[in-house]
């Protein structure tokens, strides 16, 4: 697969994309320090701040979640590669306040290491920071081995809930508890139908034959499970949803948030078909589709496929999900 992308010098790709991102969302976000993405109107200091870190090339994630009601700062790394600890600690120092800082980390090796070193430094410096790890990809590990579970689009629900809680004035411990509750109650599975290329190296990061789909593929093309013949939208939902429901042990009467995250080249049309089928399956089980979100939130360049994330909501989580946000990638009025 030959790479076909409109880019300039690959060495400048990340700073250029950040510059464009900030311009496209002027009035909401800006770049500060060593390319940290911050809000233009900072949250008052008596409220908990939210910070996250992660590789670039997944736009609009993660910087698209910076905004009122969600993140205060994101630390974007290189393409598909975590930022180093120096910029993470820079963000934690910038965010530090008496109310505290919640660092949201997606479970990927580089992100974990940078976060750990930055957290160690933060502790030494006396910063008031706590960390929540998102690891909800059921294809890469069992619930008993959460270390093996990658963090996929579920981070969005965690950021939304904790961000809304912080905005409402909850304490750091309360925000952390809310983030962890959302995290515990969610599960994600990905399906890939076509591959993608690394925009800097041109390397194929996933090659998927014409008539095949791969269930359980991570956000860098890591195979995690079943290669099978390409199915219909309904059949794909039939394969993916039950294992997710089993993972969170969904029961009749439960209220779910379902997120369908297109990873690059899968159309909204297809995602709507899948959501329609999900609703049918849930109805058959007496489970309520309480909230849904369909679109592109955490992409993998031109990869085809989507991530299906289900999260069990309680009344508080539902209210936090509905709370306002002006983040570029998720505006809630």
């Amino acid at each position: 697969m030959a790479m076909k992308k409109l880019i300039n010098d690959p060495a400048n790709l990340v700073p250029e994309l950040l510059e464009g991102f900030a311009l496209a969302n002027a009035g909401k976000v800006a770049l500060q320090g060593s390319n940290l993405v911050v809000r233009t109107s900072p949250k008052s200091k008596d409220k908990v701040a939210l910070v996250t870190l992660g590789g670039s090339g997944h736009e609009p994630a993660l910087s698209g979640f910076v905004g009122e009601g969600m993140l205060d700062i994101s630390v974007p790394g290189e393409i598909f590669a975590a930022p180093g600890p120096p910029r993470v600690i820079e963000a934690l120092r910038l965010a530090n306040r008496e109310a505290g800082v919640l660092l949201i980390v997606l479970n990927h090796a580089g992100d974990i290491m940078s976060a750990k070193i930055a957290m160690d430094m933060a502790k030494k410096e006396g910063l008031n920071v706590k960390q929540v790890l998102t690891h909800e990809d059921i294809s890469s590990g069992s619930r008993e081995n959460p270390d093996d579970r990658r963090g996929l689009v579920g981070c969005l629900a965690v950021i939304k809930a904790a961000g809304a809680a912080a905005e409402q004035g909850h304490s750091l411990d309360e925000c952390l508890a809310i983030a962890e509750r959302m995290e515990r109650n969610m599960a994600t599975l990905a399906v890939a139908v076509s591959g993608a290329t690394h925009p800097c190296t041109g390397d194929v990061i996933a090659e998927i034959p014409e008539d095949v789909m791969v269930v359980g593929m991570g956000q860098h093309g890591e195979a995690g499970g079943g290669t099978q013949s390409l199915k219909t939208a309904d059949e794909t939902a039939d394969i993916m949803l039950p294992v997710l429901l089993e993972d969170i042990q969904a029961k009749p009467g439960d209220e779910l948030l379902v997120m369908l995250n297109g990873v690059g080249s899968t159309t909204l049309m297809e995602l709507y078909l899948v959501l329609r089928r999900i609703k049918q399956i849930l109805e058959g089980k007496g489970i309520t589709l309480a909230r849904s979100l369909v679109g592109e939130y955490l992409t993998v360049q031109e990869m085809g496929g989507f991530q299906m994330c289900v999260a069990r909501l309680d009344e508080e989580l539902k209210a936090l999900w509905d709370a306002p946000s002006n983040a570029p990638a998720l505006t809630v009025k």
Binding site: V14, G55, G77, P85, P86, A109, T201
Partner: protein
Amino acid sequence: MPETIDCNTMTRMLRGAAAEIREQHEMLSRLDSVGGDGDHGTTMLRAMANLEKAIDASAAPGLKPLLYDVGWAILGVDGGATGPLLGTLFMSMSEALEGKDAPNPAEMAAAFEAGLAGVQAQTKAQVGDKTMIDALVPAVAALRTSVNGGSDIVDALRRAAEAAEQGAAATRELQARFGRARNIKEKSIGTQDPGATSVSLMFKGFWKGAETHA
């Protein structure tokens, strides 16, 4: 008079490592194309550029601050796990050299051991998991054995480099259990681990750098 390692020697060792990586970065990216996304060579190039910038900018004299500056600069490479791991190696070596401006070979071996311990605090990877650990562990062990056997620093670094090279070569037959290559499972067998290869190249550079000084 006991042989010691001063800032000059260390600078040559570090520049030697940078030179080896620069020569082989395309090979490193090719290795990474199998299990990763083909950017390990460019990440290492950035890391070595940061390393050399840190050497040039390091104002404070002394091994400890030099290695601290180098470690911090490598941590600043936004390249996934590579920066934290390699950066930690040098930061932890720096910590171990407290009060030792001109360490003897045994103290140098202890500094490398502290560096390894720092890296191992960051990752649960063990020898055999197909990571940089597969080169770093035998290199540090060989360094210690040679020093204990009375080798001078150049000879000890040569043995460390040989052990690292063997350790890296052995990763070819292993299945990755850490990092992104873990996800391709048995398909990772048959390709040498890029991280282990980088470490092996760096030790070769340490040795060559120390040798030119001798």
